[in-house]
């Protein structure tokens, strides 16, 4: 603020213009004697609220006049009377008229001088690219408005996507526009230019040439990019003494080393869940995490759809069956027909016992109940030769993976439900040993230059390695252990503060590159926008250390592709590759590997390592290993099973919570959603300590405490810093995934911590909300989901909206609850498409999150869920907390034909369109909130505050220009993506054709990997949605309210094994 002397002038401005500094409130102590005197002089009844009021203190009266005392000038200052005020305003209006008041500032139309090919301003373009993620990449089509990427969709032609995406791919667009991204090269925090960096890099390169790379080390995450691999390998050839280390904090070595143990070499496993009649998952969350998860989710649910008419969707003759054994409820486990909570350490025993049952040797001692469970599973597996699948989880140790490989081989599954290929990872190594070697070499002074790419070791490395100490100035040595540390990453994070040079990394939407998918298919990563800041890609940074420091990523990618495909017309090939999003002919063929492993060769189980408690480290469902901590959408995303936002918690099983006396307190709203107070605990583990809020999680194995990774960051930007607790602090190299400990390590601090939980309550109170049944029950009574209480169609004398003849397009949506597992991809997709704001933890605790679609999670007690009727027994309200059945239900606006919200809006801000949409007209809304009050589904969201960020320039680029950005005081809700409906309808109308089925795909439907959501025209008997609505399982939520919802659900059917009572 400039301190400029105010010009001297007579103060004849209207009173409302009084400068703040002119206000003053002389503090006067209350004069009690005067008050008493006044009191004595009064007669009759007097009412007062404060003594000051009674004393008629003029200063206090003045205070009363001001709406915001001491903060703002009073709007109702009476120093200018009404007549003078009006005179003044009239005068200024008249003066304003002279300067052309009445017309808004000019707007300009600024056309291209040379319009880019194919671009029509106002119409978005789609470009194919891919998002690399671990040992996989998801093929994408990114929507670009006038050169700005605004929305990410899956690429239907890409094997890892088939048109769908997961939460990380959807949210990655916000990472591109993250205002906290590092914007330039820095050296020790000071801004440098790229050419300065190049000079330093070239000087280092010259040194390496002479020393043959001695002391040069690279530390990367998993690399699956052929170009990047080629670059690194050529650098390693050029400097033969250099070494390449890898560290990926959330993936683990089990998969890799398990394959090596089983086959003697590293191989990649590709699953075909669509061919499996029975799947047994050993702690594998394969539906939402790990390579291929988007594709596996699609394929798995193709075997779960019961749409008799949609044969194209169904594969195989019967519904598959999923058994899951896991220590903590995961998304995959929640979808299971049978789920067994087992400790992490017991899963290894379980796997051994399983192998023994197949006569493969070895043995595992099990609890008799678990043995019984196992026997039934084995029987089921044996009933479906060659059509079963055993999958081991990413965090499981190598032996469990090797056992799974052995079992799959003996079951004859290889070739049908899974196959093996060359590794997708460019350079598979044991990550823990690789990092250990780097740290040991650093201690021994063998590392002079360290280049860190794409991993945040100070934050994620095991605590006992003390990576920060490796980078810091060493007092004893009198210098740093590593002379030069160069770090390339998108943010100036925990590691960057210890590094000499920090290169700001370009986002994948800003660079050229390539990436392999889970099955080996290569896609070209194509930029959608030039780098927003002075960032550089990893390719450019690595090239700085070679003979070609100016190599662009564009050339790097093209050169390599040309070298790999010498015989083609390259320009044509290049354009086709960019168009399709896949490089033809790069999918890995299956390879033959022979099992070199026998279970009997495994060392006996170490019984003594079991502890009273078992602490598990797991990547967080929304933040992963911490890299997405600053992504507001992912922070606010309610986690699938816990529905927590903005925090992680130490997840504790109900029995353990009882033993340790840990509880939740629900301060308001009956515990439906909002704030939950959790007990805070200190955890002293592995020589370190962390303080966390405890969260009780039904379904978790007894004694298991899960510490989700990714939170508690200190330098993660505005959204990510100081949220939750940092589990990495107690994670050591020999307890990477599980740490057994006595119960005494947990100490209740006696404090409470408020958690923002969007759904704490899971009781339907016998309302017709979530209908579920077993396959048997469904076959006996296919109409189990229909309610007898639905009012008949023509019952009303009133000819309301519901009686409107929807002759042309009748938009409807069908959601298959058999396919929904609560992965939340739809929520992020909707948030991206419709410019939905992030409100922050405080507002989420007031239940003001703005997601237009929410995913409700219900735990059920089987008895009442099938009938949908309340048995009246109080135990119904307490589903078996040890292992409840879990169901998910996405709830967008139901677009009721007989909408309760429309009837009560006093200003007509919500009206019905002629195609059946419940339109929300923001301009008319005055914020009564009666519509939300009347909505039985509670799908309306009110902007209690101006939640939208109007200032940050990056977000202006990101927003979808086809959807209004709402201000404070208006109601909003799902619109069935009316912008997409309008676009498709206009295109069809121009051609004078009806809108084709599938021309309109809502954002949620497009993102869903399981294709659970289908949108279309219910009047078209051949449309997918019409066929789904005709299914017997089809039902509306709470039809007795006569809302005639257009969004209907297909009831969930599980396929339990009748020989197992529900476990």
């Amino acid at each position: 603020m400039n301190e400029q002397p105010q010009p001297e002038h007579k103060d004849d401005r209207p009173a409302i213009d009084v400068h703040l500094g002119d206000l003053s409130f002389p503090e006067r102590p209350l004069d009690l004697a005067a008050v008493r005197a006044k009191l004595q002089s009064k007669t009759g009844k007097q009412y007062w609220r404060t003594l000051e009021e009674l004393a008629e203190d003029p200063a206090f009266e003045e205070l009363l006049h001001r709406e915001f005392p001491r903060q703002a000038p009073s709007e109702w200052d009476d120093s200018v009377d009404r007549r003078d005020f009006l005179k003044l305003m009239a005068a200024s209006l008249a003066l304003a008229g002279l300067s052309g008041c009445g017309r808004e500032p000019e707007q300009y139309l600024v056309p291209y001088v040379k319009q880019p090919d194919g671009m029509v301003p106002g119409k978005p373009l789609f470009f194919a690219t891919a998002m690399p993620f671990g040992a996989d990449s998801i093929g994408l089509l990114v929507e670009s408005h006038e050169g700005r990427p605004t929305k990410i969709e899956g690429n239907p032609d890409h094997p890892s996507s088939l048109g769908a995406t997961n939460v990380f791919a959807q949210a990655s667009i916000l990472d591109l526009y993250d205002p906290d991204r590092a914007q330039t090269v820095t050296k020790a925090g000071e801004i440098q230019t790229w050419s300065q960096f190049l000079d330093v890099a070239q000087a280092l390169a010259a040194t390496f040439r002479s020393t043959r790379g001695e002391g040069l080390r690279f530390l990367t995450g998993i690399i699956n990019s052929p170009v990047l691999t080629a670059q690194l390998e050529s650098i390693l050839t050029r400097y033969p003494l250099a070494k390449w280390h890898q560290w990926e904090p959330a993936v683990g070595d089990g998969t890799r080393e398990g394959a090596k143990l089983a086959f003697g070499r590293y191989v990649n496993t590709v699953y075909r869940p669509e061919n499996a009649d029975v799947i047994l998952s050993l702690d594998s969350d394969f539906l939402v995490s790990g390579p291929g998860n988007v594709r596996y989710m699609r394929e798995f649910y193709r075997r779960r759809k019961l749409n008799e008419s949609a044969q194209a969707d169904r594969v195989g003759s019967e519904m598959s069956r999923l058994y899951v054994v896991e220590p903590t409820p995961s998304v995959t486990g929640s979808s299971a027909d049978h789920r067994l909570p087992l400790r992490y350490a017991e899963i290894a025993r379980f796997a051994r016992a399983l192998a023994a049952k197949f006569g493969l040797g070895g043995s595992g001692k099990l609890d008799p109940n678990i043995e019984k469970w196992l026997d039934t599973v084995v029987k089921d597996l044996k009933k479906h030769p060659r059509r079963t699948l055993v999958v081991a989880g990413e965090q499981q140790p190598a032996e469990v993976h090797a056992l799974a490989h052995a079992i799959n081989a003996s079951l004859g599954n290889v070739g049908t439900t899974l196959y093996y290929t060359e590794p997708v990872e460019a350079h598979p190594v044991n990550h823990l040993e690789s990092l250990r070697e780097l740290c040991a070499d650093t201690e021994n002074g063998k590392v002079s230059t360290l280049i860190i790419v794409g991993v945040n070791p100070v934050y994620t490395a095991p605590h006992d390695f003390d990576f920060a100490g490796k980078l810091r100035f060493d007092e004893k040595l009198g210098k740093k252990k590593i002379e030069t540390v160069i770090y390339i990453s998108p943010h100036f994070d925990e590691t960057a503060q210890y590094c000499d040079w920090h290169v700001a990394e370009s986002h994948y939407l800003e660079t050229w590159g390539d990436a392999r998918a889970f099955d080996g298919t290569v896609s070209v990563v194509q930029p959608l926008i030039a780098p927003l800041y002075k960032t550089h890609s990893v390719h450019e940074t690595l090239a700085a250390f070679t003979d070609e420091p100016g190599l662009s990523d564009y050339d790097a990618v093209r050169d390599r592709l040309q070298a790999e495909n010498p015989a083609v017309d390259f320009e044509k090939f290049w354009r086709k590759t960019l168009n399709d999003g896949v490089v033809a002919g790069t999918t890995f063929p299956p390879i033959n590997v022979s099992l070199k492993f026998t279970p009997a060769s495994l060392p006996p189980v170490n019984e003594s390592s079991a502890g009273e408690l078992e602490f598990l480290f797991r990547p967080d469902p929304s933040i992963y290993d911490g890299r997405f901590a600053n992504n507001g959408w992912l922070q606010e995303l309610p986690k699938p099973v816990t529905k927590l936002t903005w925090d992680n918690a130490a997840l504790v099983s109900p029995k353990t919570a009882q033993k340790l006396d840990l509880t939740h307190t629900i301060p308001s709203r009956g515990g439906e959603h909002g704030q939950v107070l959790s007990d805070v605990i200190d955890i002293a583990l592995s020589g370190s300590k962390v303080t966390a809020a405890a969260w009780i999680l039904p379904g978790q194995a007894e004694g298991v405490v899960v510490l989700p990774l990714g939170y508690g960051r200190k330098k993660a930007g505005y959204a990510g810093t100081n949220k939750g607790f940092n589990a990495y602090v107690v994670r050591t190299s020999n307890t990477l995934w599980a740490a057994p400990a006595p119960a005494g390590v947990i100490r209740k601090t006696g404090n409470g911590y408020p958690m923002a939980c969007t759904q704490y309550h899971f009781n339907m109170e016998s309302r017709h909300i979530m209908m579920t049944a077993t396959l048997e029950e469904y076959r006996k009574n296919p109409n189990f989901a229909k309610s007898e209480e639905t009012p008949p169609e023509n019952d009303s004398l009133y000819k309301g909206e519901a009686e409107f003849p929807y002759k042309r397009d009748k938009w409807a949506m069908s959601i298959d609850l058999n396919s929904c597992n609560g992965c939340n991809a739809c929520i992020i997709a909707c948030q991206a498409e419709n410019n939905i704001a992030v409100v922050g933890k405080d507002q989420v605790m007031r239940a003001r999150e703005m997601h237009w679609i929410r995913v409700d999670r219900y735990y059920t007690n089987t008895a009442s869920s099938a009938t949908g009727q309340s048995t009246g027994d109080p135990s119904e309200y307490q589903p078996a907390l040890e292992n409840p059945e879990t169901f998910f239900q996405p709830v967008p606006c139901q677009q009721c034909e007989n909408a309760p919200c429309e009837e009560v809006c006093p200003v007509g801000a919500t009206v019905h369109s002629a195609e059946g949409l419940n339109d929300m007209v923001y301009q008319r809304c005055v914020g009564t909130r009666y519509c939300s009050n009347n909505c039985p589904y509670k799908v309306r969201r009110f902007n209690f505050l101006r939640f939208q960020d109007w200032e940050t320039p990056q977000f202006k680029l990101m927003r979808n220009p086809e959807v209004t950005v709402r201000s404070r005081g208006v109601m909003e809700k799902c619109t069935y993506c009316v912008q997409r409906i309008d676009r498709a309808r206009i295109e069809a109308d121009k051609k004078n054709q009806p809108v084709a089925d599938g021309a309109i795909v809502t954002a949620c439907a497009q993102a869903c990997p399981a294709q659970a959501i289908v949108f279309g025209n219910a009047n078209d008997p051949n449309s997918r949605v019409a066929k789904l609505r005709a299914q017997q399982r089809n039902y509306q939520i709470m039809p007795e309210l006569n809302t005639r919802a257009r969004t209907t659900y297909l009831a969930a059917v599980r396929n339990p094994n009748s020989e197992l009572d529900n476990a």
């Binding site: 001088v113 042309r808 949409l917 923001y922 009316v978 309008d982």
Partner: protein, 132 residues
């Protein structure tokens, strides 16, 4: 510059066009027909259904300086959306500036509406048609 590489290529009046082409800087045209930000207007559907240019924009060919010939307020749009037949032209007349409806416009309009599958009044005046 397409047309103006040939037509009036040396006229003083067209100097801004040549300047733009030379320097690559776009011409900043002042937007005359402005709608509020909360109106999502699609031009192509109007043209494709046979609403002529001069119907909404007036006689641009006779304007020495383009001005807004109609109010462009919602009431004005709704008047046509409620009753589009008087304004529908034969498709070859859409760009003709001096087109006037003939005496048989009523039946012609009804015929055009039918063959072009024009949306009903209820659909044309649904809020989400123009506002999202």
């Amino acid at each position: 510059m397409n047309c103006h590489s040939v037509l009036f290529k040396n006229a003083d009046y067209l100097e801004p066009v040549r300047e733009s082409y030379r320097t690559g800087e776009s011409i900043k045209w002042i937007k005359i027909h402005r709608l509020a930000d909360f109106v999502y207007f699609d031009h192509s559907i109007h043209v494709n259904k046979g609403i002529g240019c001069s119907t909404c924009h007036g006689r641009v060919d006779e304007m020495p300086l383009v001005f807004q010939a109609n109010t462009l307020l919602m009431q004005w749009c709704i008047d046509c959306h409620r009753n589009p037949e008087p304004y529908l032209r034969p498709m070859d007349q859409v760009y003709v500036m001096d087109w006037r409806p003939g005496p048989n416009q009523e039946e012609l309009g009804k015929e055009f509406a039918r063959e072009r599958n024009l949306r009903t009044t209820a659909e044309l005046t649904s809020c989400s048609t123009c506002h999202r």
